[in-house]
């Protein structure tokens, strides 16, 4: 059994110290200071006495006997000593450190003896006395102070970053300051490298984006060159062809009687072939015009365009004795009137062409789809198209039939191109023998009340002469598809380098 705390002797065990202490309750502040000052080598013991004091003053429940208190004290002191946060206890009056846990030594490199009795600014927390005093004022006023990110120097001058939280707790009539210091140097380093990586990544992404844009522009340009090339080839080839056709016709018209039958046959074949070639060139010209025409999208009255397209197909309709039924209603859509007419002419022409041994029957109707989309159906009773060809038929020069049906294989390519350029869609349902149901989709034009302004009336175009004052800017789906393909390509290139 040791002496009393008042006699400056360390008790042999905590329980007796506590008992002694209770007898000297009024003098506890002095006792603590002396104990701490006295026993730098008796670290654990001293802290134990200190903690016991805490419990005895305020928190010891009536049922807790002295043995239980001892267990609790040990439990919390383990937490204190093994914590991976630095913990400091400060006297709010003197501002001096009265306790520090082992991890605090790790963080700053000062050993416990150096820490005790110091003010925070002396160990660089914060870095000068004025700031330290200000921080204390704040702490006393608010009960808490918190620094998310406090740069510090260790004893050996190394830089560490800590998260610093300081709380003021009441202990009976007194108060105590507890500081929790967490070393966040590694976290900060990770955060920094993450930020660097992010920055690098976004720089790379920007470079890639730029590359895609450049390549897209190049491709678009070479596409345009190609389209101009198609146009000029088709255009220039027609000139000599016209002469060939003209002279062959003259031959038949004016010299037929002087030709033998085989000679007349040859001339007819020349004319027929020339006519076929001319049709091919005309279609190619049309195709290249759809590609290069400037698309200004505007509200278009569908009914007018459908009528105009039917007029455009008059010859084929009469020749094939087709029955065409156009079912209203026809809402207004956002489109380029001339191109839409071309698309419909080709779809109707297609519908009346591929019919075996019966008059073609064609149904034209519209259907309102979700999200403000209007679908236009062109349905025929023709020979139909096997599923495996549904994609291919929209490509240039793709023909499914050789001699039995006339055609250049460009019509549906014009349809596809035209719909692409208007940011619309095209597709079909078809079963061989049961006809084909082609559809195109365009956005529905807002109604006149929704548009409000009288300038934005639905355009009712004259066939072939369209001037649209209402410009709607858009990127064609072709462009988008191109950039997405390019970015995939680029990322593959990138990863293989």
């Amino acid at each position: 059994m040791g002496g009393t705390p008042g006699g400056f002797a360390l008790p042999d065990d905590l329980v007796s110290a506590l008992g002694d202490y209770n007898n000297y309750r009024s003098g506890h502040g002095v006792m603590r200071a002396k104990l701490l000052g006295w026993t730098p080598n008796g670290y654990s013991r001293c802290a134990g006495v200190f903690s016991a004091r805490l419990n005895s003053r305020n928190y010891l429940p009536p049922f807790m006997n002295k043995g239980a208190l001892s267990v609790s004290e040990l439990r919390y002191r383990r937490l204190f000593e093994s914590a991976h946060d630095g913990i400091l206890l400060l006297d709010p009056v003197t501002r001096r450190i009265i306790e520090a846990n082992p991890f605090m030594e790790n963080i700053l490199g000062y050993d416990r003896a150096e820490l005790l009795g110091k003010e925070l600014f002396e160990i660089g927390l914060p870095q000068n006395q004025t700031a330290s005093q200000a921080a204390f004022q704040e702490l006393l006023a608010n009960g808490q102070i918190r620094y998310e990110n406090l740069p510090l120097q260790t004893k050996s001058g190394q830089r560490v970053e800590v998260e610093f939280v300081s709380n003021l707790y009441p202990e009976g009539t007194q108060q105590i300051i507890q500081c929790n210091v967490r070393d966040i140097t590694v976290r900060k380093q990770l955060e920094n490298s993450l930020r660097d990586a992010d920055l690098k990544l976004s720089r790379h992404a920007a470079e890639l984006e730029n590359l895609v844009n450049v390549r897209t522009a190049e491709l678009r340009q070479s596409n345009q060159q190609l389209e101009r090339f198609i146009y000029s080839i088709a255009h220039d080839l027609r000139a000599p062809l016209r002469s060939m056709q003209g002279f062959a016709q003259l031959l038949v018209l004016e010299h037929a009687e002087r030709l033998s039958q085989p000679g007349r046959d040859c001339t007819k074949r020349i004319m027929k072939a020339a006519q076929m070639m001319d049709q091919l060139l005309v279609d190619l010209l049309e195709f290249s015009l759809v590609s290069k025409q400037e698309m200004q999208l505007a509200p278009v009255a569908l009914e007018t365009v459908v009528q105009s397209a039917l007029t455009g197909c008059e010859n084929e309709i009469i020749e094939s004795e087709a029955q065409i039924e156009s079912h209203s209603p026809w809402p207004a859509v956002v489109a380029h009137a001339t191109t839409l007419r071309q698309v419909l002419v080709n779809l109707i022409g297609n519908a009346v062409k591929f019919v075996a041994g019966k008059p073609p029957q064609v149904q034209l109707r519209s259907e309102e789809r979700p999200n403000g989309i209007v679908r236009i159906w062109v349905e025929d009773n023709g020979i139909g198209i096997p599923m495996e060809f549904h994609e291919r038929i929209f490509q240039v020069f793709q023909r499914l039939h050789t001699t039995s049906y006339a055609g250049t294989g460009i019509g549906l390519a014009i349809v596809q191109k035209g719909m692409d350029r208007m940011s619309g869609r095209v597709g079909l349902d078809s079963t061989p023998g049961e006809g084909s149901r082609f559809w195109i989709e365009l956005p529905k034009a807002p109604s006149e009340t929704e548009r409000g302004s009288p300038e934005l009336r639905v355009e009712r175009p004259e066939p072939d002469h369209t001037v649209n004052p209402h410009k709607i800017t858009h990127t064609s789906s072709e462009d988008r598809a191109l950039s997405s393909r390019l970015s995939t390509l680029d990322s593959r290139l990138h990863s293989s380098v």
Partner: protein, 147 residues
């Protein structure tokens, strides 16, 4: 000046096309043989009577010009612009006869002062119709704007 027998100057670098035009106009009733220029430069020389073209017996001044657009040296647009700048030629009938049906070309020609714009037809009948109409119209109009 009453137009009885119009004189046509066909400007086209394609000999075959010119020959066909000539044949067709002949069939349509044109009396005076068609005159030819094979590009824009020749057309300007012909109209201004330069060199050999100063002989107006052999190269009579035309009542109308049929002008192709796409030609070497000087194209149809340049010839048209030049004609409209000449005081003595600014009212000359100039019919553009081109295979282009592009709005851009058509508008440009009218802006430059073309009297009319005809798209070259794809077949003989079309060409024949054009020739007949043109001659009939010239007969109807009676008066040449140049005088």
């Amino acid at each position: 000046m009453i137009i009885d027998n119009p004189i046509i100057l066909a400007v086209d670098d394609d000999d075959c096309a010119s020959s066909l035009v000539s044949t067709v106009f002949e069939r349509a009733g044109l009396v005076q043989p068609i005159q030819f220029a094979r590009d824009g430069m020749e057309a300007i020389d012909y109209l201004s009577g330069t060199g050999a073209y100063s002989d107006r017996v052999q190269y009579p001044f035309p009542t109308i010009v049929l002008l192709d657009l796409n030609m070497p040296r000087k194209n149809g647009f340049e010839v048209l612009a030049w004609i409209r700048q000449q005081p003595g030629l600014k009212r000359l009938h100039v019919y553009v006869l081109s295979s282009s049906s592009q709005e851009e070309d058509i508008r440009r020609c009218y802006d430059l002062g073309a009297s009319s714009y005809l798209v070259k037809p794809g077949n003989l009948e079309g060409l024949m119709n054009q020739a007949r109409c043109l001659l009939a119209w010239l007969k109807l109009s009676h008066i040449s704007p140049v005088a």
